[in-house]
């Protein structure tokens, strides 16, 4: 008689195995991958029910829903990987309306042949990020595409959250006189990614700033519930975010180059590559537009939080029907800070 148990299933070989088409076919192989990888890593009551959807309790208030696809290349970069980025990115999108993020859903599009070891590394990092943020991944989906039809792995995450009463944060609420704040140094994520691109490779100790900002937002809202706008300056960078808000709100902005927090290494890398750090992506920073009387309180709350120690007031919203964002240069002149033109760097997040 065989010594093997009748219900024995040989575990997935996460050391040498690779994603194949059966992992997305919906049969036993899919179920095994979900079981041994996703449920194991994200482990929570909702996933353990094995239902197609997660039934969640909703506290009273206005709900916020946000979704974000992640196609970053390379998948692993200094300071993070696509897994934690996918958690942080969506939590931040939910948090930018002042909401408390509650739940995440995740979809993986895997390419046939992708090493399972890398997939496990990504999922482990994602689970750690979700646990650290206190926002569980409660449902998900996995699909596999043939080799050459994807690029390793794409992750889409969707998040829901609830906005506390009395908070009304939106991109069209900036008013002349409001202060413009930024939570820390600009351009770190983009430079970290660029340092690894095949035709650019350069050495740097700059790491991606990828981080979940919802607790920073909660501290800011607690200090001043009347914050007008919040936005995380990801693709297109700080400059593009300011232009978006200026257009939505129908006003102009003036920022001061001297006040902008930019790391010397980021400046140097941008100088070398011919880029402007104002347009380089961030994944753990936010821009806040705050009524003038609240600016100091919000700044103090930001600086008291570990993700806002380098926060600064960098400019003001002004009355301008043309919606120009202008900058007083450190050199002593004044210039436009326009929208990003074209594509500075593809697949940054």
């Amino acid at each position: 008689m065989s010594a093997v148990r009748p219900d024995y299933v040989r575990p997935i070989d996460f050391r040498h195995g690779r994603v194949d088409m059966t992992h997305g076919a919906g049969g036993r192989a899919t179920a095994q991958l979900v079981e041994e990888l996703f449920v194991d890593a994200f482990d929570n009551a909702w996933l353990r029910t094995r239902n197609d959807g997660a039934r969640i309790d909703v506290p009273p208030g206005r709900m916020v829903i946000a979704t974000d696809s992640h196609v970053v290349s390379p998948l692993f970069f200094p300071g993070g990987d696509i897994g934690c980025l996918a958690v942080h990115g969506t939590i931040n999108d939910v948090a930018m309306s002042g909401a408390r993020p509650l739940y995440l859903a995740a979809t993986f599009v895997l390419e046939e042949g992708f090493p399972l070891a890398d997939l496990r590394r990504i999922v482990t990092s994602m689970a750690a990020a979700s646990r650290a943020a206190g926002v569980p991944v409660v449902t998900g989906d996995t699909k596999v595409v043939e080799q050459g039809k994807g690029d390793g792995v794409f992750i889409t995450t969707t998040g829901v959250g609830v906005v506390p009463d009395g908070v009304d944060i939106a991109g069209d609420r900036a008013r002349p006189g409001d202060a413009i704040l930024v939570s820390g140094s600009i351009g770190d994520h983009g430079v970290a990614i660029m340092s690894l691109r095949e035709n650019l490779t350069f050495e740097t100790t700059i790491e991606s700033d990828t981080a979940a900002l919802h607790e920073l937002v909660a501290a800011m809202v607690a200090a001043a519930p009347g914050i007008h706008c919040l936005r995380d300056p990801t693709r297109g960078g700080f400059a593009t975010t300011l232009n978006e808000i200026a257009r939505q709100s129908g006003c102009g902005m003036v920022i001061r180059e001297r006040e902008l927090p930019i790391k010397a290494q980021v400046k140097a890398a941008c100088e070398f590559l011919g880029l402007d750090p104002l347009y380089v992506a961030n994944e753990g920073k936010l821009v806040a537009i705050v009524p003038p009387h609240d600016a100091k309180h919000v700044l103090a709350a930001m600086r008291a939080h570990p993700l806002g120690t380098d926060a600064a007031i960098v400019g003001e919203v002004v009355d301008d029907p043309h919606g120009f964002v202008q900058m007083e240069t450190a050199f002593g002149g004044r210039r436009n800070v326009d929208w990003l033109t074209g594509e500075q760097l593809p697949r940054i997040c």
């Binding site: 035709n199 140097a268 100088e271 002593g332 210039r335 436009n336 326009d338």
Partner: protein, 374 residues
């Protein structure tokens, strides 16, 4: 940032600004052309015009390699890119230049042409080595700064015996273009564009030196100051030009003594001379056919000349009739004089080449100076 911030110091800028204001004589005007797009970009980006008195005016010159490339040459590159199995490698700015039939290299890429953006000629060479079964053409553009690296790539390809690599050469020459502007009827006879002096690009002179400007400073009696690209370099050069004009001098002066000499980089010049020779004539956007203003690959390296290898035939294509790029490149008009500027012609949808590269006069004004036009 060490060695950079020193050249962007606002306090020194104020002092230079005051010196220019004092030395520029109230009774005369100073029309200075910065030849190079890199200077145009610096002037707009740092707001240098704000620091100059009203009687010192900067005129943007044609020194932007992407801007002066005529449509027909881009059409040639697109035709190459559409050939089966061909890879065209090129610098980023070239990708967006509008060509015939609403195309650009970027749009041709979206239609399936294998067009790749590279940061150097060495990258193009690497693509050729990595793809032995494909033919690679490096679409080479630029002034004297990018010419030596192209020469290196061609020589290296010869050493390696690469048979799948060639260069579509569009390298052009700075002194020839400046002389052409000074010969133009607007400057010479009509006097519609007063041009009192030139700022020459330092990076070009790190290669060719300052010597090539001596002839026309003398011949046309116009001072030239070769200057670096940091904002203080530009302001210092403006002050030096104002002083020369006040003294009635027309000399070639070197502001960028930290890297430029009279003779330049003799090794690079020898390399360029080994690989390239003068073209009898080359069409520039804005300037038209300019004699002896561009380079082609020498007979010795003919195997690497894409024009020979693929029998490329150049056809001149007229610009959009409303587009003022030509006049803007000659310094006759300003970007805001063009009806298309900021309306149908924007950096997202450029009609003319001056709106494409960040060094183009229109793109620089659109990105940095537009708020002043209200």
């Amino acid at each position: 940032m060490k060695y950079i911030d020193e050249f962007r110091d606002g306090a020194i800028a104020q002092r230079l600004s005051a010196a220019i204001a004092i030395e520029a004589r109230a009774e005369r005007r100073y029309h200075l052309m910065e030849f190079c797009g890199g200077h145009t970009h610096a002037i707009s980006r740092y707001g240098i015009s704000d620091l100059l008195p009203d009687n010192v005016r900067m005129i943007h010159g044609p020194g932007c390699p992407v801007c002066v490339l005529p449509i027909g040459r881009i059409d040639n590159a697109i035709e190459l890119g559409k050939r089966r199995g061909m890879i065209v490698a090129t610098y980023a700015d070239t990708m967006r230049v509008p060509a015939s039939n609403g195309l650009s290299l970027q749009k041709a890429k979206a239609q399936g042409a294998d067009i790749r953006m590279v940061y150097s000629s060495a990258d193009a060479l690497r693509i050729a080595r990595d793809n032995p079964g494909r033919e690679i053409v490096f679409f080479a553009i630029g002034f004297e700064t990018t010419t030596p690296p192209t020469a290196v790539a061609i020589r290296r390809a010869a050493e390696l015996g690469l048979t799948n690599f060639s260069v579509f050469c569009n390298h052009v020459l700075t002194p020839a273009a400046i002389a052409n502007i000074l010969e133009s009827p607007e400057v010479r006879e009509l006097g519609t564009i007063p041009l009192d002096g030139f700022i020459g690009p330092a990076h070009v002179s790190t290669v060719i030196g300052t010597q090539p400007y001596e002839y026309f400073a003398e011949e046309y009696q116009r001072p030239v100051v070769v200057a670096g690209f940091e904002p203080l370099d530009v302001m210092q050069a403006i002050l030096m030009l104002v002083r020369q004009l006040n003294d009635g001098r027309a000399e070639v002066e070197n502001e960028f003594t930290r890297a430029v000499t009279r003779d330049g980089n003799t090794k690079a010049k020898a390399l360029v001379a080994e690989v390239f020779e003068l073209r009898r004539s080359f069409e520039w956007r804005g300037l038209g056919e300019v004699p002896y203003s561009a380079l082609r690959i020498k007979e010795t390296y003919r195997a690497f000349d894409a024009e020979e290898r693929y029998g490329i035939e150049y056809r001149s294509v007229a610009d959009n009739r409303a587009c003022e790029c030509g006049a803007i490149l000659r310094g006759v008009k300003r970007p805001t004089d063009c009806k298309l500027f900021g309306t149908v012609c924007t950096p997202e949808n450029p009609m003319g080449s001056c709106m494409v590269s960040s060094e183009g006069a229109c793109a620089a004004h659109y990105a940095y100076g537009r708020f002043k036009d209200r």
